[in-house]
Every structure is written in structure tokens, then in C-alpha cells.
């Protein structure tokens, strides 16, 4: 007997524009506004709005239905710019009191792996955003792509979080079950693990007709959860699963609609991650090597697995000090948008040769195109901050 914890990840990156050698030094229009607008509005119509509508109905219909979101800062900014109705509907959901929000990095970055200072800044920025829009101060941390290791847990603890999310991968669990609350190694912070088998049944396999369990109904799914022993079955997935990754005609929305009732039949109720804080952790889990929720490898190779990705990521963070020193707020924000993990994902060559379709929409023809644009942009930023180191500081002094 257990409870279910539903958490959805909401994220959209600011995809970069075609930025050539000849743009360097000319302008800072690094992001493809048109494309970002189109994609946001498309996904708002296919996923965010209809899914929010269903969640709202479920909250009204089922008194114990609860849901958790993590919405990135870049997604919130895109809602404001391109789809304000989506932000309004999330606020309405927040007002029901049945929705919990998590904290992550504002820009969905991989700063946890590179730069603790930047990581801290982005976490604090995100906390501020969530407070501002949804009136909550999350106690629980969710890192980009569930990137996790012992060090990250320690940092999250230092930043005041009570729990952190991670992939309930066999590689760290061994024989243990992901459905219990654990504790991080050498840090007083709880570890909430994703039940990846059950989560991925919905997120990845739902519409796969070759899958032996197809079609998946809410009733069947509830039957699978019912016999599970543990503190909580953590069903973590991208919110875009609903209507975008799994299209409307696969029946994914119906599945969501029927899930609470189907679980109720087995007396399984919903809980928020914060409710798991009262549970005493089962054991300490040692995760010295970084894990994530991506691919069969569950490592960071989707973002930092090849030479281009390494070079681009390293170069971006090398610029940080100078960018911040410039005092140019607009440029700093643009630079932060470049730390979003998706840019590095688009440079991935792992599946590219086989012509496999990425999980995500890839806006570039090839990983190489993405790299070229990205590096040209970094060159432009480097030239700008080099041309006026601390210029803003001296102007400020002079004005004073």
C-alpha cells in the first residue's frame, strides 16, 4: 500500500537564432523570437492549456487529488511574452491550494556541474520567481534533468532545501526500491526518487503499439501501482507528455482524467513531495558519480558527452566573470539564457548518425549547425565584454 506523487516538469528554452560569423560585433539578437513564439504557442494549445484544464477539473472533482510542478524561469518568461493565458491558468491552479511548486535553476542550466556561484544565483532567482508568480517558497529542489550527485545534494542542503529529487535508477539503488524516502550521503537532505519504470510507461511507452502492455488504461495502471509497498510512488515526467510527446489522439488526456478515480478504487491517494518530509529516510544513498534522468546511460552524456558540447559549455562559463563584471543587465540575462541545457542537447551526436528522432524537437538541421551558431554568439559576447571591461561601473562612478 502506498501513495502517488505526481510531479510535472514544465520547460521551454530560448532557442538560439542562426548567428553567423558576419553577425559577430553587429547585434545581440541571439534568440530566434519567431521560432520560440511559434513553438510556445503550439505547445500551449496542444498541451499546457488543455492539460491545465483537466488538472483543474480533477482538483474540483477529487478532494484528495494533488499535483506538483516545476516551471523553469525561461518557460515563465515565454508564457509572459507569447502565451499569457498559460501563466494565468497556472496561477489559478496555484490558488486551489492543491498544487505545489518546486525550485530549480531559473535557466534550466547545468551550472550545478560547473560553477557553484552561478548555480546558487540561478536557484535564488528561481525561488524569487516562484514566490512572485505563485506565492510559494518551495522546500524541495529539483535539478535540471534530475542531474544529481553527492556534491549537488550538499549544495542544495546549504541552500536550505529539505529534499532533492533524483532518478530512481537501479545503478544507484541496487536491490532497493525507489518507492521509499532516502537520505543523501553526508548531508541532512532527503532524497525523493523517481519510479522510472512506471513514469516512463506513461511518458515514453504510452502510444507505442509494439509495447506488450499497449493500450495503457488508467485502470490497468492503477492495478500496477496498487500492490506496491512503500512511502510513495513518484511519477515524475515532462508535462509536455500530455498532448505534445504523446498526441491527443493517443488517448493520453483521457488517461489523465481517469487516473484519480482508478487509483481511488485501490484506496491510493495523492501527496505532495513536501508531505514526504515527515517520513524518516530509509537509508543513505551514495552517489559519487553524476546521474540524470536521460537515456539508458542515465548520465550527462546527452549534454556534455562530446567534444563540441564540452568546448561550448566550458567556454560559456569562462565568460561568466567578465559578463557579470560588465554590469550590462541585458547582456547578463542573454548569457544566462545560453546556459540552458537544451542548447547542449541540440549538439548531441549520440543518436545523430542513426537518424534517430530526438526526444525533443531539435530546431537545427545538425548538431554542428547548433554549435557554430552558439560559438559565434559566445565570440560576440567575449568581444563585447572585452571591449568594455567594467565600463558600466566607471560610468556609474562618473554619474555619481
Amino acid at each position: 500500500m502506498t501513495n502517488a506523487c505526481l510531479y510535472f516538469q514544465v520547460h521551454q528554452p530560448f532557442r538560439i537564432a542562426k548567428y553567423t560569423l558576419f553577425d559577430i560585433g553587429k547585434h545581440t539578437r541571439y534568440f530566434d523570437e519567431q521560432k520560440n513564439k511559434e513553438i510556445m504557442q503550439k505547445i500551449a494549445g496542444k498541451c499546457y492549456l488543455p492539460a491545465n484544464h483537466i488538472i483543474k477539473e480533477l482538483i474540483h472533482k477529487h478532494p484528495d487529488f494533488k499535483v506538483t510542478y516545476s516551471i523553469t524561469g525561461t518557460a515563465i518568461e515565454q508564457f509572459q511574452k507569447y502565451a499569457p493565458a498559460v501563466l494565468r491558468s497556472f496561477k489559478e491552479l496555484a490558488d486551489t491550494g492543491k498544487v505545489e511548486f518546486l525550485t530549480e535553476t531559473s535557466h534550466h542550466s547545468l551550472s550545478s556541474l560547473n560553477n557553484k556561484e552561478e548555480f546558487t544565483t540561478q536557484v535564488k532567482q528561481h525561488q524569487k520567481l516562484i514566490k512572485e508568480h505563485f506565492g510559494q517558497k518551495p522546500k524541495i529542489f529539483r535539478n535540471t534533468e534530475l542531474v544529481y550527485n553527492n556534491e549537488i545534494a550538499k549544495t542544495a542542503k546549504e541552500l536550505g532545501f529539505k529534499a532533492i529529487l533524483a532518478e530512481g535508477w537501479d545503478g544507484i539503488l541496487g536491490w532497493r526500491s525507489p518507492n521509499y524516502v532516502y537520505k543523501a550521503k553526508d548531508a541532512k537532505i532527503r532524497l525523493l526518487l523517481k519510479n522510472y519504470k512506471l513514469s516512463d510507461d506513461v511518458a515514453f511507452r504510452f502510444s507505442n503499439k509494439q509495447w506488450s502492455q499497449w493500450p495503457l488504461t488508467a485502470e490497468k495502471y492503477a492495478d500496477w501501482i496498487a500492490p506496491i509497498m512503500g512511502d510513495s510512488v513518484n511519477l515524475f515526467m515532462d508535462y509536455e507528455t500530455f498532448g505534445e510527446h504523446q498526441w491527443h489522439d493517443t488517448g493520453i488526456f483521457n488517461f489523465l482524467k481517469h487516473l484519480p478515480k482508478a487509483l481511488a478504487k485501490h484506496n491510493i491517494s495523492f501527496q505532495h513531495p513536501s508531505e514526504l518530509l515527515k517520513i524518516e529516510p530509509k537509508e543513505e544513498l551514495d552517489v559519487p558519480n553524476t546521474i540524470s534522468w536521460a537515456d539508458v546511460e542515465r548520465d550527462t552524456s546527452a549534454w556534455l558527452g562530446n567534444k563540441m558540447q564540452e568546448a561550448a559549455h566550458t567556454k560559456a562559463y569562462e565568460l561568466r566573470k567578465d559578463v557579470l563584471a560588465s554590469g550590462d543587465q541585458e547582456l547578463i540575462e542573454k548569457w544566462r539564457k545560453l546556459t540552458t541545457s537544451d542548447h547542449f542537447y541540440y549538439m548531441c551526436t549520440k543518436w545523430f548518425s542513426d537518424g534517430d528522432v530526438h526526444k525533443y524537437f531539435n530546431p537545427y538541421d545538425t548538431p554542428y549547425e547548433c554549435f557554430i551558431n552558439y560559438m559565434n554568439i559566445l565570440q560576440d559576447i567575449a568581444d563585447r565584454v572585452e571591449a568594455k571591461p567594467g565600463l558600466f561601473d566607471s560610468i556609474k562612478k562618473w554619474i555619481r
Partner: protein, 401 residues
């Protein structure tokens, strides 16, 4: 099951060749011989007694017991394609001689075609397969004699070779061959669309068989060099876009002045290109090597940091695969057959000087980009061997038989 007998009409065969057609025929017959089929390869030969030597050199047995080389006694040299004809035409630069020469070429094509009837009578076969326009009439004639199905294989059209300024006599022969064929094979969708557009051939008559590369390993060369090097390798003709290459060189040098550009190949545009580098003031940055062969080709590739193929119209572009096999990243024209299959490559429109410059400069500046393209490209090119195309062509044969 008895072996399928193919009567194949070609124009050149290694080591006696001027372009990709000889390499293609060599690779194809070698791979087809692994399938259950027996090939008689017919080609014109030189009159100076090179015949016997040439056949020996190829030695049917060297490829496989399943390929027989049959030569037709004709005064033509094996490399006499329309392009080499045009090269001569320009070198001579004399209208009177040009005519004489032209008459000879067409006469020789006619003679080759006439002799084909005789071959068709004496050589038993189930299928006739003809490569490019010079052999189409031979294929048609053979079909008249034996009533066997004719496969016409289009490696390049007259429109490709001349950048859309076709010689009407050649394009007429080409059209006729495509009309008479029972099936047409092209090396790319690009070519398929081209002949639908120019010759109004029904799409269902055309089978696309993407080409592959011989899988024998290449020699390893450790280049000694100071500066980064960008390579052009191919015939220096309008089809291959060497003029775009030097324009790009000029622009790249504004950003990366230490770069060297190497042009490997001969062709009718060579004097023009040499003049152009002078006009652009980059003669000290552009090196002309002339045509190279054998291991020198591999050395050229392996010395280069990037191979650029700015072809105006490239039905396939085998040389791009050769570059990848040598571990050299490629920047290829979007109007090429090879760009339909290769994913780990940089691509641009041949006329887009800025975009090519953007990409070349990126490769020169970022080792990570060059290394990743090299690593992935070397891996990917292993997929494009000749067994797949041979299997597809066997399927075409079987359906016709």
C-alpha cells in the same frame, strides 16, 4: 539457381580512367560479383596495343571470377567522356580542329554502338546495363538484337556536367537512352528529380540507388604542416564550382589569414581559376597541385583540415565519402546526391559564399568541431559500402528478368 548474366556497357575502368565513372564501374562490378551474377564488361580501348595490356592490368580474375572484361576494338581512349572532350576542345581553342575532333568523338560513339550488336549476339546475357550517355546507343542496339531488358544507369546528366548549358547532341542521346530503357538507375534523388525536370521521365521508371565507397582501408599519413589547410579536390570544371571555392578562400582569409587553400585537379577552368586567384590577390595562399592519383590523393585528404565540395550540380559526389574515409571533415553543396545520405557533414548552398565562409572559419577556429566531425564522419562512412547498392541493383535486375 543459375547465375544472372549481365552485359554491361561502360566507358572506362581503373586504372585507366579520368573521373568517377571508372571508379564507380569498378566498385559496382566488384560488389555485383559477390551477388549471384556474372558480368561481361564492354568498353572501348586505345588503338596503340594498350588493349591487351589494359585488360591484363585489370585482370578480370583480379576483381572476381564473375567479371569478364570485353573490349571493342576502337580508336577511342577510355577516358573520353564528354567532359574530357570539352577539355580538349578548350585547349585546342581552334574552331576548325574542334569540329574535326567533335566529329571523331561522335563517330567513335557510333562505332562503339554498332559493335555492340555483334557483342550482344555472341555474349549470352539476361540483362543489359549501360553507364552514361556514351554507352546508351550501344545498350539500345544490344537490346534490339537480344530483346533483353535494358537498364540505363545515369551517373551524371549533360545538365550536371555543363551547369545547365547542355550540348544538344549529347542531351538528345541521353534523352533517347532514358526513353528506351526499361528501368533507369540514378545515384540520388537529386538526379532523379533532374531527369524528371529536364527529360520528363515518369518517376516510377526511375530507381534511386545511393552510391557507396569501396571498403578497402586507406593508407595512414602523418602530415607535416604549419598552417590550417582547406582542400578542393575534383575536376576543375564549371560543374564542380572551383570559382566559388576561390571566392570563399578570399573571404575566409579576411578572418583567418594564416589558412592555406589547396586545389587538386585539372580541367578546362584551371587557367581561369588561376587568373582569378591573382585578381583576388591570394596567389600566395592558394596552391595548385594538378591532378593527383593513388596515395597522393589520400595524402592530400589527410593533410587537409576540411574538404570543400562546392559543386553546382553533383549527381552523387563519391569524393566526399572518400574524404570521410580519410578522416577529413566535409563541407558539401546541398545540390549533391551525397548530401541526401551523409548526416555528419557541414552543408551549404554552393552560391552562398557567406555561409560557406561561416562554416569554414568555425572549423578552423574550433578544434572540437573539427574533431567531432572527424570522429562521427569516419564512423558514419563505414555504413556506405558497395554491398547495399549492389543488392538494390540485383533487385532491379530480378524484377526485369
Amino acid at each position: 539457381m543459375s547465375k544472372l548474366k549481365v552485359l554491361m556497357f561502360g566507358w572506362e575502368f581503373p586504372p585507366y580512367k579520368s573521373g568517377g565513372l571508372g571508379t564507380a564501374c569498378y566498385g559496382l562490378t566488384k560488389a555485383l560479383a559477390k551477388q549471384n551474377c556474372e558480368i561481361t564488361f564492354v568498353m572501348p580501348v586505345t588503338p596503340e596495343g594498350a588493349t591487351a595490356k589494359f585488360v591484363k592490368l585489370i585482370g578480370a580474375a583480379n576483381i572476381s571470377k564473375n567479371v569478364k572484361i570485353k573490349t571493342i576494338d576502337s580508336p577511342l581512349k577510355a577516358y573520353m567522356t564528354s567532359t574530357s572532350y570539352e577539355e580538349e576542345y578548350h585547349v585546342w581553342g581552334n574552331s576548325k580542329k574542334k569540329q574535326v575532333y567533335g566529329r571523331d568523338l561522335y563517330q567513335e560513339v557510333q562505332r562503339y554502338s554498332a559493335l555492340a550488336k555483334h557483342v550482344a549476339k555472341t555474349e549470352p546475357h539476361d540483362i543489359i546495363h549501360a553507364h552514361d550517355w556514351m554507352t546508351y546507343q550501344a545498350g539500345i542496339n544490344a537490346k534490339k538484337v537480344s530483346k533483353k531488358p535494358l537498364v540505363v544507369h545515369l551517373h551524371a546528366t549533360e545538365f550536371d556536367r555543363t551547369a545547365d548549358n547542355p550540348d544538344a547532341r549529347i542531351s538528345h542521346i541521353e534523352w533517347q537512352g532514358l526513353q528506351e530503357a526499361d528501368k533507369i538507375i540514378t545515384n540520388s534523388n537529386f538526379s532523379k528529380q533532374n531527369i524528371i525536370k529536364h527529360y520528363k521521365i515518369p518517376a516510377e521508371k526511375i530507381e534511386v540507388v545511393h552510391w557507396g565507397i569501396d571498403d578497402t582501408p586507406v593508407m595512414n599519413y602523418v602530415p607535416i604542416k604549419k598552417d590550417k589547410m582547406v582542400l578542393f579536390l575534383g575536376r576543375v570544371t564549371v560543374q564542380k564550382g572551383p570559382d566559388y571555392f576561390v571566392e570563399v578562400a578570399k573571404k575566409v582569409l579576411q578572418y583567418e589569414p594564416k589558412t592555406k587553400f589547396v586545389i587538386v585537379g585539372d580541367g578546362d577552368m584551371l587557367p581561369k581559376i588561376i587568373n582569378k586567384t591573382a585578381e583576388l590577390g591570394i596567389t600566395d595562399k592558394v596552391i595548385f597541385t594538378g591532378a593527383l592519383s593513388g596515395d597522393d590523393v589520400h595524402k592530400a585528404f589527410q593533410t587537409a583540415d576540411l574538404y570543400v565540395m562546392p559543386s553546382v550540380s553533383e549527381p552523387f559526389g563519391l569524393v566526399a565519402l572518400e574524404s570521410l574515409k580519410n578522416g577529413t571533415p566535409i563541407l558539401i553543396s546541398k545540390t549533391s546526391g551525397v548530401s541526401e545520405i551523409v548526416r555528419n557533414a557541414l552543408k551549404a548552398d554552393f552560391w552562398d559564399i557567406n555561409e560557406m565562409t561561416n562554416k569554414i572559419v568555425s572549423v578552423l577556429r574550433h578544434n572540437a568541431l573539427q574533431e567531432e566531425l572527424k570522429e562521427q564522419g569516419t564512423k558514419e562512412v563505414q555504413k556506405y559500402n558497395l554491398d547495399e547498392p549492389a543488392k538494390k541493383i540485383m533487385e532491379v535486375y530480378k524484377k526485369l528478368k
